[in-house]
Structure formats: C-alpha cells, structure tokens
Subunit: 141 residues, 4 copies
C-alpha cells in the first residue's frame, strides 16, 4: 500500500532567528504527522487513546537528518511509512520534501504504553491490521 501523506506549510513561528526552521520544530511537525496518521488512517484519535483508554505512544528513540533548510511559506510534503511492528513497538519512517528537495528524514520508534509511560501494552488487533497496511515493501519484516 502507498505511504501516508500529508502536508504542512512552514509558518513564521516555525523559524528561529536564523530565518529557517528550527530543529525542535521539525520534531513538533513529525509528532503532528504521527497524530494525523493515527486519526485519519488508523481511526484512532489521540484524544480517545489518551483519555478514553489511558494509552499513549511515546517516542522512545529517533534518528533524524536535515539535508536542506526550510523557510516560511514552504509547503512540506510529509510521508510516513511503517518499517516494522512488534508486540508493543512500532518503527516509523517519516520524510519531508519541498518541490522534490529532501528537507527532513526522521525514523522513530514508538511504544504503546499506559499514559505516563510505564507499562508497554500489546497493539489491539484492529490497530495492528490497519498499521500493517502502511508497511513498506522494502523494509517490512
């Protein structure tokens, strides 16, 4: 299946005093892409997850690279695909491009856990099935 795509326009407040998007704002955007994907593609809103089920998906590790700078007004196309899914873990690969130029690449590992980040929990079957639709051909295991 195709990867999940969404876009985010770079705003003035995403940029810092150097005029380009600050490192930390890419993290915020990546978190937003994950939240949109859960909501739109998995039909599992973070509101319901956090408050109705006392679950959360904290990011436990990430590797990122930023080959070129982004400026306010840039339309970033974000792509998200699933690298692998474990009992309670999930490895995602996100990337952002603008006009075909690579701007950000963020691989991250999430863990489904109780809110407050204490005990891992197994992915429910429904979620697992939907997540599997986004496993990339190359990296799937």
């Amino acid at each position: 299946m195709a990867d999940y795509r969404t876009h985010i326009q770079v705003l003035t407040h995403h940029c810092d005093a150097t005029g380009v998007v600050n490192f930390s704002r890419y993290g915020e955007m990546a978190y937003e892409v994950v939240e949109r994907w859960f909501d739109e593609a998995l039909d599992w809103s973070f509101w319901r997850m956090h408050h109705g089920e006392d679950l959360a998906v904290p990011i436990v590790s990430a590797q990122s690279s930023f080959p070129a700078a982004s400026r306010s007004g840039d339309h970033l196309i974000w792509r998200l695909s699933v690298v692998s899914i474990g009992r309670s873990s999930l490895d995602l690969s996100l990337s952002a491009t603008c006009g075909g130029e690579a701007r950000a690449s963020i691989d991250m590992s999430l863990v489904l856990s109780e809110v407050g980040f204490t005990k891992p929990r197994a992915w429910p079957d429904t979620a697992r099935a939907r997540i599997a639709d986004y496993i990339t051909g190359i990296a799937a295991d």
Copy 2:
C-alpha cells in the same frame, strides 16, 4: 576536561496532554543547552554569531533516545561533551538525567555555515581551541 553542565526545570508547558515532556520539547531543550554552551563556555553568543558574523550552526543530523518520562517540576541535569570536530562540522553528545535516572540522550552533528544554511565555513582558531577543551577522553579522535 569535564563536560559542560547546565540544568533545566521541566515546566507545565513542556508537557503535552499525556502529562509528560513531549518529544519536540526535548529537542528545544537540547538546542537551548547548545546555545548556553556557546555563550558561556565558548564566549560566542548566538546573537553575535547570527547577526554580527552572518554565521549559524544548524543541526544536520541527530540520534536520540528517551528511556524514561519527565514531568513538570523535574530538575534535569544536562551534560554536553564534544565527540569530534572537523573543518566545519562538530559532533556533540548531550544527555539529561533526573535524580540519577537517564531521561534523554541526544547525539547531534552541527555544521558552521553562513546564515540560511548554504555554505560551510571553517571553525575559527579561537573557537576550535575552546571546543577542544570539551572533547571527551573516550570518543576523541
């Protein structure tokens, strides 16, 4: 030489709806630690770098892990050390602990460049000498 140390207290606005520090806020804190280090240890404020010299140190890649969650009120001790310095690159290792417990570990590569992130520039000798004071014994090359 010893690593650079500074502390940041976790505030309510660093935490998201799950009650713990959001991924992107760790990035913001790490960026703050780097900015403090340049200012206090290298005597090179980002204001002077950005506006007086048209230089910047964008983060071009980072690897991070978050072994345990942080909550508002937590006092995080951040440590920064230099892994290696190249002609215009700089590899840093940052970590945050709270009461001895590891909370965040962020390794990052910076590049000294013209503001706007186009052309790399060689580290000035004065800065290079000061940066060398923070090279860790283990990882230095």
Copy 3:
C-alpha cells in the same frame, strides 16, 4: 464582506500537563491565523514581506479571553475581521469556536514596520484596499 475563516485542529502538543490548550498556544494559533489571512486573502506572504521587502507586522498590543477549555482533537473555527486600519496600524478581532461554543477571543493591534520593529511604514494602497474588504460593519470607522 464576510470575515475570514480558517480552522485549526487542536493537537496533543498544543495541550499542556493539565490536558487542555495552554495560553501561549492560543497566541501561536492566532499568529498563524493572521499569517494565513495575509497569505490567502491579501496575497501577501510573510516570506515576501519579511525577506523581499524587509517589512513585518509585529503585534504591539492584544486583549484576549478564554471562556472555555479546548482539548486535543477539537476542531476550532477561527474568524478574523478588521476593526480599523490607520496609516500604519491595523486592529484585528479574532475568535475561535468549537461546535458553536466560544473558546478564545483575541483582539490585537499590528503595526507595519521595518523588520526588527523600528520604524512604522504606511500600508501600500493595494494591501489597504484588500484589508478594507474585511472591515466589520459594526466596528468600521
């Protein structure tokens, strides 16, 4: 003419440790609404304004009220209208509702000035004409 409308979905990172949108994030959203309005309705992107014309529209004063809390997943409908326009000033009225319930009301005064906030500049005629389309019937002068 009708007011300008846009919507923003509340995300997990907009909320703080109390589970609802933090005060400062409403300010960020309001700034985003103004930036979208300049871009979409006035055809004047902040990128061009800041970097092509060395102009900016800093907020010099604001009055805000937050009658009810917002949570992640809420769809906020933001409305923006012009209260009055002076030689270089601009008074805007913004409000956010969710399902008909008032969530935020922010009145603000901007001043067109040189980047860095030093000297006020008169609104160009083209912008002035487009801005006038959003003057509210009640508050126009």
Copy 4:
C-alpha cells in the same frame, strides 16, 4: 512587599523569522513566570497542584502590550505583582524590561479550578495569605 522578580534570557528559538521574539513566546514566558512564582514564592508547585490536588489555574483573560522588540541574548527582568484576589480569581500584573527598557506588559486573570477547567474553587487560606504578600500598594483592594 516587593514584587516577585525572575529573569529569562531570550534564546534563538524564542525569535521567529523576523529575528525578534514572537508574540506567542511572550505568552509562554509569562506562563513560566507564573509557574516559578507559585513554586518559589507560594511553595505550591504546579506538579502538586495538577496531579496531587486535581487543581489548575487557567488564564481566563489577558491584556498585553509590547512597546519594543527583544532579541536573542537579551536578559529580560520579569516582575510579577498581585492586583487583586477574589474567592477563586486572581488578577496579576507582569512586566518585562531589558536594561531599563520596557519590552512587555501582561495583565492576566487566573481562576483556581478543577483540572480540565470546569468548576471554580476557593483559594486555600495558606495560599491566600502568601498571595496577599504580593499585592501592590497602588492597585490593592
């Protein structure tokens, strides 16, 4: 009694693409000043308030002005004083200066309420007594 004072250094990420502190970041700083004041002056950490007592102090209204711009590296001196305290409300006056120059003035009304912002609660006597120490001579009622 004297007002509460604390300082915040302006960082690169507080500034947006125009090179000066963004509107929304002043709101974040003001919220930080309030949180520090509760913690240090009232001995009432937001962690204990939010998680131990299920209480919060949402900002229900604010009036702010920003007479001059702030840049990275500026040391802002923030002052906080109490204008008045009601059964569950609290009116605060905050201001930030740099080298004697006024940069921000933010008056705000808080309400002690249950977490999630539903029911107002009366200030406990201990807190009320400590808060009273910060009532300004001029504005006290």
